[in-house]
Subunit: 298 residues, 4 copies
């Protein structure tokens, strides 16, 4: 098929290479002109602008956006709405909030444009060699673009998840689960680290990946990480997050689902961003007030 | 009544003064001889040793231990068992684990000694001017010593809680609740602190203490704390703990009671003792492994 | 002062009585005509419509809305915008989300109307006999209406909290703290209930209210509740919620504040609304899959 | 090698078959005589008693206990201590608490017996076809018995974890991580279940197992479970637990490790055992007290 790719970051670039491997024809653009040149060398048709990209595709066009969620996605869509024609298909493969996706699909519909939301998992390596994709779309639109996902994904690694929004929602929940699994693994290793025993963490993770209940890709990555730095002495425990975990908790709140593990995984990430906490100061001050317990002065 | 007091720390000393105010006769001792001298000046009969204390009391003796829980309580009890006589009464007014209390009561029973467990709340000021006491004891023993608690406590501020162990168990749960209330208050103020608004925390706490649902002694202490340091800039958010919160969580686990708020109050205290966490390192390393997300190098 | 009150529910009605006690002149309306009649008998000027209410007030008018947050508040405001005149003041005393408040203040500003957000705590009894109020407003507007709050509130029980939005934000956080305190108290009593001891809960709460660290209005209410039903056998543990706790957690997420205690208080409320959980089914099914652990069949 | 196996339940029986496959000689016993007969038919030497088992092994004997943790393990060990001879080796392959293990190793040492603690993961299928084993032992003892674990386990699926106690401690933490991972997965599916979308859960789990970040054995089991009952309508969400999760939380508390995710996973299991909660009753009663909010009558 012919596909237009907007966004040649870590994910988008690898997806293009993956598509080219499967003999798709890709017209690609990015604000970073260096990447446009590189992707041309790699076999795609690199172009300078979204306008040029659109005019380089035959109708009905299939345009894949792989750009940061939020404002940039919004801007690219605004531009696309002006240059695409009825019947064209826009795929958002980024980590957009499903509420935005639902709104955007409505807005595109007014122009007779089709919107497809794709959750993409498996990291940059997956994007290159076989991703896991969850696709929300009108069924007849999905039929048109299914070959893309069949080729991009590992075997059995793509799913039509239902109406528009369902792909991003599912990817969001996937990430919420991921937060919980990562925090569970990490808490376990902290218990080991503070225990009276002296474990070789790489060996532990490796052994757990062979036959245990907790064997998983995340445990394999844990093994990798410890193989490079046995006690992780070189890094700080700062846990950033990029939105999907927060949205999962917000969705849980909206749906009145008790999701303590996902919520706490997120909150411990926030805690890791703080050197000191106002919460802690208030509790310390209160202990001092009623019990005369010493506070730690700054 | 005649009471022997072992332990003249912040709590014990104040309890003696409180007892003297109510015309009780107190024989008191402590390993700190300075405190023994001081309490003598304040009207008690200060003595050098537990042996001397015991010989200075008429039978059936009433001996109150106000010493740190754990080994010291264990040691004092061991000594008391050797010098007391059948029918004598030992009161443990400290923050002992109720499981220890149950065991100790059994051990004392073998010597025909009575054991009484008293949970004491209200801080050092309460000990001096009117405490809150929860008393576990054999009913006929409680009858003998009730006047002490009536005098020591604020009006309506003492309760016979049932058989031995029930006083310390109740005090433990009281502290568990206290942990939860303190953390709830503190989290609220951190939300205020990070908000777009600019509150005067002392004024907020004061207003909340006049008519709001959250009015409480802890909120009054919050007001006091902010009156001394409006943004708590002088102290660090290090939240120590002294065992009772942990025991409450352990009891909840033993009894299969879901107690997430008390448990998390405790765990956030532990978190505040860590500058960096192994948990955080593992999560950061994993994010780097699958997504190429940058880690913070040390 | 002359005040227009829209909304004569439990809270609004009591506020009017409270205002009348303090010799304010109140014009009041409600969709429930019975309440309009009653309040007229109680000394206010009951009117049939918002239009009539507005025409019954002299400029600059002070109109207090005490209606359910959300759509009804939105509708009343829409109507008010059409009938009020530049310089008039609208007070929202309900539990509105501060984000709505910020938006509404902007919308009213376009019509040169002033918006005031008031968080009201203390329950229905407080509304009647002395509330606790937190007021966000332009400073010069607050000066005009301060006498109302001085009279409505218990002594020291009102606070000018800063710019518009700050009143509702503070009330929201107050409720978040309240959730945490309530859950902490409740967890404590469940530990007592499942313990080996046999406590009289009313007596425990009463004793704790006299001198303990956890003495508080909520503990007094706990005492009241147990005085009516010593083991709460007549009620089910269904914990509803009305939005403010959820908003506090959402605000904490937005501000990256770890607030595990407030979050878990809310999530345990949601859990109490479920008879059975899908989460539980999945875990039970998994235990069966890997360990052959029996599941409970429906 | 020659191995004595005490305990022919789901796990022990499968371990014997696994050992026989690898040409080990097994003398086996169980209180269930039917199982003794069966295992004899399967190629082991079934015997009637522990005494007989011990006399059927040549020294230094290797005796593997695969019996329920707690009292039964204690009783079997007491019997073994009386019949084994200095130099013999006792392996505890059950889910014993590592604190018991440390104590028991000391007790056996007094009789010059060696104690080995083995954490076994992978479920009953793993026991039969390739387990994951983590072994704490004196190093020279491990050398003797290593061939057993090499054969029983999947390739790379066994690890010498250090001194006695380290195997059970590691297995305990493994289970704690497992609790967290399961709860994370389960919460995610509850969010899906309550969402506006209509997912095929088996298909979702299958897709996630092909290329996503959360691919794992637990997700494969999730897929299996949904393949049998697409909405899990036939089972109740009752989540039992067997001790290891609780011990992990207790260890975390002892080591002052904040482990909110593992703790909450456990507490939500406890919550699932309750039809109604005292916590909920107290909160509901309090809401009624201050706000007049209706309670649900029983």
């Amino acid at each position: 098929m012919q596909i237009g790719m907007i966004g040649l970051g870590k994910m988008g670039y690898n997806l293009v290479l993956n598509l080219l491997d499967h003999n798709h024809e890709v017209v690609a653009t990015d604000v970073n002109k260096e990447q446009v040149k590189n992707i041309t060398n790699d076999g795609a048709t690199g172009v300078e602008s979204i306008k040029e990209l659109v005019s380089g595709l035959s109708t009905p066009r299939v345009v894949w956006m792989m750009v940061p969620a939020g404002n940039i996605t919004e801007d690219v869509l605004a531009e696309l709405k002006n240059v695409l024609e009825p019947g064209d298909i826009v795929i958002d493969g980024g980590n957009s909030n499903y509420k935005d996706t639902l709104r955007r699909a409505e807005e595109l519909k007014e122009k007779e444009l089709h919107f497809v939301d794709v959750g993409t998992s498996g990291g940059t390596d997956g994007a290159r060699n076989g991703a896991c994709t969850m696709i929300g779309a009108e069924p007849e639109v999905f039929e048109i673009i299914e070959p893309i996902f069949k080729d991009l994904s590992v075997e059995n690694g793509y799913l039509y998840t239902g109406k528009v929004g369902s792909g991003h929602f599912l990817k969001m929940v996937h990430n919420g689960i991921e937060y919980g699994m990562m925090q569970a693994i990490a808490e376990g290793f902290e218990v080991l680290e503070k225990s009276q025993f002296d474990y070789d963490y790489e060996a532990v993770a490796k052994m757990w990946n062979h036959g245990s209940v907790v064997r998983s890709w995340l445990m394999e990555l844990t093994q990798n990480a410890f193989s490079k730095d046995p006690k992780l002495e070189g890094i700080k425990g700062v846990m950033n997050s990029s939105g999907e975990g927060k949205w999962t908790v917000e969705a849980a709140l909206d749906l009145q689902v008790p999701a303590p593990v996902i919520a706490l995984s997120l909150m411990m990430r926030y805690r890791s961003l703080e050197d000191d906490t106002f919460t802690g100061k208030v509790v310390a001050a209160l202990r001092n007030e009623f019990g005369g317990h010493a506070v730690v002065k700054k």
